[in-house]
């Protein structure tokens, strides 16, 4: 093999992929910072406060100031902690928050990896999130951390089941596991209309998967101090925070792809089709993130047995029934996509 061939065949694609990854990850991190700021502003507005308003115009540089503060703090590793796992846990969380974006289509053909099983890949990534929390809780050698980790393991495993069934109905309706094909299948009707109950189940399960209020039992500050994060400080803690927001953005993006028609405009008529698809995608994702924030500003925390009851006794039978109903209806009326 000639040497020039090697450069052209391997190094050039590698550089291209690295470029694509940077083009996705850097905006995502910016979005995460904006979400962290926007969330505080939204809560403030809902609670008749002003929110961050000191650093920069309208407090816009608050995330930067926070980041700087955390960076110059000391990273403390508790005695008796498993050093390697203790430091690995936040990295796992953060990485998992980012790698899901590899398969999310932002527009027609605007996707890093257009793989056949994109939806399963995202499901796998979201089901791995629990490891970061379990490992963090176990490695910190702290009872609060461990309790938080145990809760989180039970919670995420429970709600994954119903998310799985929600994904199955979407796959049925779209006839594909490829995310771009799923978006294309929503050209006539966005899936949140025919699959409305599943959209609600998905949204609530997504709250549970990201450990957000009303399901933030793993970190319940009133009883567990901060759960699995209790021993983390400085940059290790920042990684947990970034991972949490990256996961919220990821699940919002996923719900847009699955139920809200991805990059498609609401109506295929003139003024709507002028706006490029990626703008629609971003606008819908922003709306979903707003919903996450709204819920957190509104609802109190669930009790643990209520959380388990909702997952296993309400969502699991409901989503299972809806899978059967969807499949039956599609078979009966001949709506199977081919």
């Amino acid at each position: 093999m000639a040497e020039s061939n090697f450069w052209l065949d391997y190094i050039l694609p590698l550089l291209l992929i690295v470029g694509y990854i940077l083009a996705i990850v850097v905006p995502i991190l910016l979005v995460v910072a904006v979400v962290a700021y926007g969330e505080r502003k939204i809560w403030a507005a809902m609670q008749f406060r002003k929110g961050p308003n000191v650093v920069g115009p309208l407090g816009l540089f608050q995330p930067l100031a926070d980041g700087l503060k955390m960076m110059i703090k000391e990273t403390i590793i508790p005695t008796g902690a498993n050093r390697i796992l203790f430091l690995m846990a936040p990295m796992i969380m953060f990485t998992l928050g980012l790698i899901g974006w590899a398969v999310i289509p932002f527009d027609t053909h605007l996707v890093l990896a257009d793989i056949n099983v994109g939806i399963l890949y995202l499901f796998a990534v979201s089901s791995l999130g629990v490891y970061g929390i379990i490992i963090a809780g176990w490695a910190s050698n702290s009872k609060y951390g461990f309790l938080g980790a145990m809760r989180s393991a039970a919670q995420m495993v429970s709600y994954e089941v119903s998310i799985g069934f929600v994904l199955v109905t979407v796959m049925l309706a779209a006839g594909s596991l490829n995310l771009s094909a799923i978006v294309e299948a929503q050209k006539g009707l966005w899936f949140f209309i025919p699959l409305a109950p599943m959209f609600i189940i998905y949204f609530i399960s997504a709250l549970a998967e990201t450990n957000r209020t009303p399901f933030d039992l793993p970190e319940a500050e009133g009883e567990l101090v901060a759960g699995y994060q209790v021993e983390y400080s400085a940059m290790t803690w920042v990684l947990f925070m970034l991972a949490e927001y990256a996961n919220i953005v990821l699940l919002s993006g996923l719900s847009v792809v699955l139920f809200l028609g991805g990059w498609l405009p609401p109506f295929h008529v003139e003024p709507f089709t002028w706006i490029p698809g990626i703008v629609w995608f971003i606008a819908k994702t922003a709306f979903m993130i707003f919903l996450f924030t709204w819920v957190r500003a509104t609802l109190p925390r669930y009790r643990y047995d209520q959380l388990m009851r909702l997952g296993w006794k309400v969502f699991l039978p409901a989503s299972l029934a809806w899978v059967v109903i969807t499949a039956g209806a599609m078979h009966l009326f001949g709506w199977m996509p081919q």
Partner: protein
């Protein structure tokens, strides 16, 4: 092609090494984490073979669910490591015999030509051509037609196992006050509030009846 070969050897070596570490690690939690590493690398090998559906299912089922429960249990148990090690020599002969039998069987199968290891290349490829039919569709086509009864049977076995586990561990305790959400929602001021007119000096009960 050369990149694929390199990737294959990296994944294969890490899988085997992680497998060894599962039984060699001193801490059971670390064993489970090495097991997860082995699962991941096997998933990578599946992707390399073009079996992307199997790879994703391996990660979802084994790493995302089974290994989480392993980890859960192992972390909760208070295992005495030295006690576990103590029986090692005692069980060594038995383990060696089992291993030797397995090795002998493998040698018998492959070395004597009872199975031609080149058969799969002639009869069928492991995965259908990717541009004709997707991996998932091909699997579904064969699972729900030719192997429909076997597939259903496997599902029933799992269901029986699950029901059995629930029956074995479930017990109805008496004297437990359960929350009945439907009852709570159905209550209104008429059924929840009782007005009692208790005369001075008279013994009254706060209970509704």
């Amino acid at each position: 092609m050369i990149i694929e070969t390199i990737v294959f050897y990296v994944l294969a070596v890490v899988t085997v090494a992680a497998g060894v570490m599962v039984i060699a690690a001193r801490n059971p939690v670390q064993s489970v984490l090495f097991l997860i590493l082995a699962f991941f690398n096997s998933a990578g090998l599946f992707v390399l073979m073009g079996a992307e559906f199997l790879a994703m299912i391996l990660v979802i089922v084994y790493v995302g669910a089974v290994a989480v429960l392993f980890l859960f249990v192992v972390m909760m148990l208070n295992i005495n490591y030295s006690e576990l090690r103590a029986g090692f020599l005692q069980y060594l002969p038995l383990g060696a015999i089992v291993g030797a039998i397995l090795l002998a069987e493998l040698i018998l199968v492959f070395a004597t030509g009872a199975i031609d290891i080149h058969v799969p290349e002639v009869v069928a490829v492991a995965t259908p051509p990717a541009d004709e039919v997707s991996n998932t569709r091909a699997l579904g086509n064969i699972l729900y037609t030719r192997y429909a009864y076997l597939f259903q049977g496997a599902g029933f076995i799992l269901l029986v196992a699950m029901v059995g586990a629930i029956v074995l561990t479930h017990r109805r305790r008496v004297g437990v006050r359960r929350q009945k959400i439907a009852d709570q929602v159905a209550r209104d001021s008429k059924t929840a509030v009782v007005l009692k007119d208790i005369k001075p000096g008279e013994e009254g009960s706060w209970k509704s009846d």
